[in-house]
């Protein structure tokens, strides 16, 4: 029996998330990945922005920082550069990391700073009651797209890659063992890694799109199961076939110089920065 409690602030449970919310599933995945990495809790800083997902840091027994909406990566960049010996993990909703936080997202990718970002992508602004986000599927009804969303959505992995991230993976809150593995690989990766966890928010999103996702929270999870295809399988599929699919797997993994190491080299070139 895996002992979550040593990673948890047990007295803060139950968490605030709705029954069945995927955020809890991914949280457990993250804990298992950190356990596997064997990191010392004192040396971990977990940073988030604002949103349902961003409440996560309150529950885990690391150094935790709940910042402002969209700004987690900016704070995290300061932390990592100031104290590179810390393991810095960022957890963030799709709205937090890709709407208001989009600029910090692409620049963290570009810098290739050794931070692991887990994007809790439920395709909606959960916390504020279900307005469409930059990852909401076109056509979906939300609080601010009552007639169906007319905007296209980001492919998070493509965006991360295009911006320069060196490790990109996508899992789902249904395919938990795989997700464990992607997060673990992300933690181990030297450089900026993005793990997108495809999730669902029935409370604010599924409820308004029962025709598509099914009548309950459980159907939404099954929708995930039925629409996930591995990157290997996806390679053989047409763009049309992939239209409503969630392509999972490690989508990008390259080796590039890491930012804080490069900076340390500069310091070292002056003899380690005597005062």
């Amino acid at each position: 029996m895996f002992d979550y409690s040593q990673y948890l602030r047990n007295e803060k449970l139950p968490h605030i998330w709705c029954p069945g919310c995927g955020h809890g599933i991914v949280l457990k995945s993250l804990i298992r990945a950190v356990a596997k990495a064997g990191w010392n809790k004192d040396e971990i800083v977990l940073v988030s922005g604002i949103g349902c997902a961003s409440r996560l840091p309150g529950y885990v027994d690391f150094n935790t920082l709940h910042t402002a909406h969209g700004r987690a990566l900016a704070f995290a960049t300061g932390i990592k550069l100031a104290k590179p010996e810390m393991h810095v993990i960022v957890v963030s909703g799709d709205g937090d990391s890709l709407a208001i936080g989009g600029n910090h997202f692409i620049h963290a990718c570009r810098r290739n700073i050794d931070i692991t970002l887990i994007c809790f992508n439920n395709g909606i602004y959960g916390m504020t009651g279900g307005q469409y986000s930059p990852t909401t599927a076109s056509g979906d009804k939300t609080a601010t797209s009552p007639f169906g969303n007319v905007e296209p959505h980001f492919n998070v992995a493509e965006l991360a890659k295009g911006a320069g991230a060196t490790f990109v993976a996508r899992g789902t809150s249904y395919g938990v063992p795989q997700l464990d593995n992607y997060i673990y690989q992300g933690l181990m990766h030297k450089g900026f890694s993005v793990i997108e966890a495809a999730e669902a928010c029935f409370t604010t999103h599924g409820r308004k799109n029962r025709k598509k996702y099914g009548p309950s929270n459980l159907d939404m999870l099954k929708w995930q199961r039925d629409h996930a295809v591995s990157v290997e399988k996806a390679a053989g599929m047409s763009e049309e076939e992939l239209q409503d699919k969630i392509v999972t797997g490690v989508l990008h993994n390259v080796d590039k110089p890491e930012f804080t190491e490069q900076y340390q080299k500069l310091i070292d070139s002056f003899g380690g920065g005597a005062k």
């Binding site: 029996m1 895996f2 979550y4 409690s5 948890l8 602030r9 047990n10 007295e11 449970l13 139950p14 968490h15 998330w17 709705c18 029954p19 069945g20 919310c21 995927g22 955020h23 809890g24 599933i25 949280l27 457990k28 027994d61 809150s173 249904y174 938990v176 063992p177 929270n217 459980l218 999870l221 099954k222």
Partner: protein
């Protein structure tokens, strides 16, 4: 941080011990839905999961894996 103890309900099956923490269970039914052996069900009034067919449990761990609330645990025998 201080630890908090949660009350636990234990179910012993052939292959496992299954633990539920009722104070944490939100009755979301995720574990129930994805249990391959229909071991679990919901106690309506309390909105808490119960293992009324623990005998069928194969200790696959899917319930624990997907429970979003740290409310259900499987220990293989």
């Amino acid at each position: 941080m201080g630890k908090k103890e949660f009350q636990e309900t234990k179910y012993e099956g052939g292959k496992c011990v299954l633990t539920v923490r009722p104070a944490l269970c939100k009755g979301c039914e995720v574990c129930i839905e994805f249990c391959p052996k229909k071991v679990l069900s919901l106690e309506r009034k309390q909105q808490v999961v119960v293992a009324d067919h623990i005998e069928n449990c194969i200790a696959c761990g899917m319930c624990e894996l997907r429970c979003p609330d740290f409310a259900i645990y499987i220990e293989k025998k």
